[in-house]
């Protein structure tokens, strides 16, 4: 069964691009344009992993991450941000990994593959 990845990003182009890239890798990809939508989709879609942007209108990604940890304690979350500065924010330690956005998604894809492999042994 395909693993499901939830991509959370306010930029439509990034959502579409990541959906395409990760679908090509064999994942079932669903997307959310805001943290509030993402929290809802975590309950309804039951993703195996979340990629989370930080700078979004409304609630930011780090605040969403804290809420995710309350509702789905062990759900893998990878922060995928254009800014590296948030890496030193203590809230970011609750993420499995922190990837700085670039045109090349190799690091993100490798990390997703690595984290999802823990579950399947």
């Amino acid at each position: 069964m395909k693993k499901k990845v939830l991509v959370v990003d306010d930029e439509k182009n990034i959502r579409l691009l990541l959906k395409e890239e990760l679908s090509d890798e064999g994942y079932d990809v669903v997307t959310a344009e805001s943290g509030a939508v993402a929290l809802n989709m975590i309950q309804t879609e039951k993703p195996d992993l979340v990629t989370l942007d930080i700078k979004m209108p409304g609630e930011d990604g780090l605040s969403i991450l804290r809420k995710i940890r309350e509702i789905e304690y062990d759900l893998p979350v990878i922060i995928c941000s254009a800014y590296s500065v948030y890496k030193s924010d203590f809230s970011a330690v609750a993420a499995d990994h922190y990837v700085t956005k670039s045109s090349d998604f190799e690091e993100l894809k490798n990390k997703i593959k690595e984290i999802l492999s823990y579950d399947s042994g």
Binding site: R66, F90, E114
Partner: protein
Amino acid sequence: MGDSKAPQVDHASALDDRAKERLQHIRTADIIVGIPSYNNADSIGRVIKAIDLGLAKYFSDKKSIILISEGGDLSGTIDAVDALKDKHYFESSFIAKPSSYTEILVTKYRGTSGKGTAVKAIFEAAKMLNVQAGAMLDSDLRSISPEWIELLISPIIYKDFGFVTPYYSRHKYDGTITNMIAFPMTWSLYGRRVRQPIGGDFGFSLGLIHSLLSKDVWETDIARFGIDIWMTTVAICENFKICQSFLGAKIHDDKDPGKDLSPMFKQVVGTIFGLMKIYPDNWLQIKGSRPTAIFGFESEVAPKPINIDAENMINKFKQSVPECMPVWKKVLGEENCRKLEEVSRMEPQLFEMPVDLWIKSLFDFALAYNLRVDGLKPEQVIETLVPVYYAITASFVRRTQNLDSHQAEEVITNQCSFFEKLKPYLVERWESET
């Protein structure tokens, strides 16, 4: 299994009859805050005030108890508590006095002398009172504030966590046993990134207390300084929900690792190693690592600088080589032993312990401790690890002397990832020798 009640084992109580009588009279409470103490009359007053104010500010609707579990001079601690009986500190705090004051109990614990037994007395009291949540705070804290109480207890009461560990802003050279061993070993063995597994200030649920009290460990190093890492490891291995709370700076009575940390080192590391044999299924199969939830508000505080005498540690390492080498030859893989010998011959000004050598050596020591290689006693193994720990700590100080605490933190985190990568070395050796 989480918060399910574990079967009870009958051990001698750490509470004396007088304390039990008092607790029976109190009957129940919602919250207990315990302070394990050993002759800390000078600093404990400040800790009690912060706890009392925190309970009044954040949990005024709850019935709370403060219990000081003393291992040293009881009269000094009682005097320190008596000095607070007028509760004048409420008047200058802008925190409303509660309708009924929190009761403060002082007891001298019974049993093996050490922090773990002091904690056991607190757990027994928590169980007797059937509390909803508890917290434990070190008695030598200088930086505690009332907010710590909220941060350690709220995740238990309102978010259903079983164990809350602290997350401090610490100077890069504060907590070297944590940074060099406890944090990376917890990360790599059990796959859980808990930044301060031996922090000393924790929040806990009643379910966790039941589980901890059910174990027959109170005559071991767990009754001493092994208590903190034991609690963290049990919470991880028995699937209690764990989170971290950001408490700000930790300022306490600091210690130079090269001077007076030896007993603590042996008890903490001995417990880490010993637990590997108790929970093999919880680490041999674990791949990768998972983060831990975190609460709180990050304040930009500059932790108090800690000075470490790296030269002293390098000298201690070099001086110990002739005495330790016969044991190292039995404990370490051939290549690791040769490399360690090379390191010992380095000029002090060029001295450096490679990180991979440290990790593999530590794994070798863990193996020797548990598998009694060549008839070595566990105490001998730990004893001869101390100089190697001095070597890596001195090397860390050298590598990070020009880095700020954030940059040094990245070095520590990278080191943890390196532990994770080298874990197959330990697993292979363990599986081939058991």
